[in-house]
Symmetry: C2
Subunit: 254 residues, 2 copies
């Protein structure tokens, strides 16, 4: 049996860094989702193993809290492990650390995933997956020293600050808007002048519904306490009246 924690190496590539010459949160999010998939693949329950069985993992929530972002060209490792498995949800944590110096911890992440049937879109019983194999990898002892995933509450008075059409490059292999693109779109609501004075300390995102090519994404902003900003994303689908909530996110700046 493999270790319960998997460790995967990445590099803060120049074109994945922002003007501050550090990895951007969107690209880090992509690396975390890759590490999650690689960890699952290595243990027999990754996307390419589940998809032919008409099953897929769906990311429900993600939180990333960073002491600092890896600088350009830095090699870093993402460690990931499963903290718990419930009937319809599993918790997976992350630790982002310098690849060569285990004492240089950049930050941590938490995530919640559901398992669904891709034909019926109904949730599946996770503990049953692969004859119960997933339970063998649960590590309840390893500590993830960041706050739990936020529910991200946003008031009714949040203001619409942007509406964006969806494009070819927003669409993922499932035909939905790519989970990472929502993070980038939320970060793009803030200007370069803002980022010159503020760093993203923590990013929480809750995925509520899927959106598709052709939808327009609407962004509603509410400034909350202590320099945090909440953003609700809704979709407007051509031919449908009204808007449907797609994501809720909270960005804590320092």
């Amino acid at each position: 049996m493999l270790d319960r924690t998997g460790r995967y190496d990445f590099m803060a590539e120049p074109f994945h860094c922002d003007f501050s010459k550090r990895l951007s949160m969107g690209h880090l999010g992509n690396h975390l989702l890759n590490a999650a998939d690689f960890h699952a693949i290595d243990r027999g329950f990754g996307m390419p193993q589940l998809n032919p069985e008409h099953k897929t993992w769906v990311l429900s929530r993600l939180a990333v809290e960073m002491e600092e972002m890896p600088p350009e060209y830095t090699k870093f490792s993402v460690e990931t492990w499963i903290e718990g498995v419930m009937r319809y949800f599993t918790n997976r944590n992350f630790r982002i650390v310098d690849a060569a110096d285990d004492n240089r911890v950049y930050g941590y992440g938490r995530s919640i995933w559901a398992l669904i049937d891709t034909d019926t879109r109904q949730p599946l019983n996770i503990p049953d997956l692969g004859g119960g194999e997933i339970a063998r990898y649960v590590d309840t002892e390893r500590v993830c020293p960041i706050a739990s995933l936020s529910r991200v509450k946003i008031g009714k008075d949040a203001c619409r600050v942007a509406s964006l059409p969806t494009h070819y490059s927003d669409v993922d292999v499932n035909g939905h808007i790519n989970s990472v693109k929502y993070i980038e779109h939320v970060l793009d609501l803030f200007g370069l002048d803002w980022y010159r004075g503020h760093r993203v300390r923590r990013f929480d995102i809750a995925y509520v519904a899927e959106s598709h090519y052709g939808d327009t994404l609407n962004f509603y902003r509410e400034d909350v306490a202590d320099g945090a900003v909440c953003v609700r994303i809704t979709k407007s689908t051509p031919g449908d009246d009204g808007e449907t909530e797609v994501c809720r996110s909270m960005i804590a700046f320092t």
Copy 2:
């Protein structure tokens, strides 16, 4: 002395693939630019070695011609070598091949780079770089079996089809709009319905001027022969009248 050709391994990560479950051209472009940088770093003249000397490579043109795009999860290698060094320009070629099967060639690329002084923005003499070290790596014999880089001529009658503000995530470590983002923005001019019937066979892009955060990018489209489309990108800078050409690109679809 290292080989004249460098070989770097990548994976067609799920979130870098489009709806067709193959790597998108924008992300492939990023891998080619990384391979170019890694090849140069390994030989002593990469960006992190040149930047402290107030020098940098500037990508002038890039062409990528693909038989097929690597499918999701495929491990592929980018081979890169220098075809020639002139006073102010160097030609670098690429071959994209399956990491495990050297007979499965996905495609090829060509690029032209200038070397500039980052203080004066003036071109520097490339053959002098590192006491002439770069000339030792030139490989004039290795064949790159795709057409030369196109000049990309676009008529005056091209129609403006989009104008986009620039955002935080468009900006690279130098404070300019990221070379890869132009490719993505051009590809986003075409809808998912178009891509269901057409594949990008070749993408040419010529970088004419830099644009910056706060500029608006304007896209002018001209359909040319044989299913090819040319796109000119201009920038409108706040406070300046008129528009300045930033890029010219040509996409050949099949």
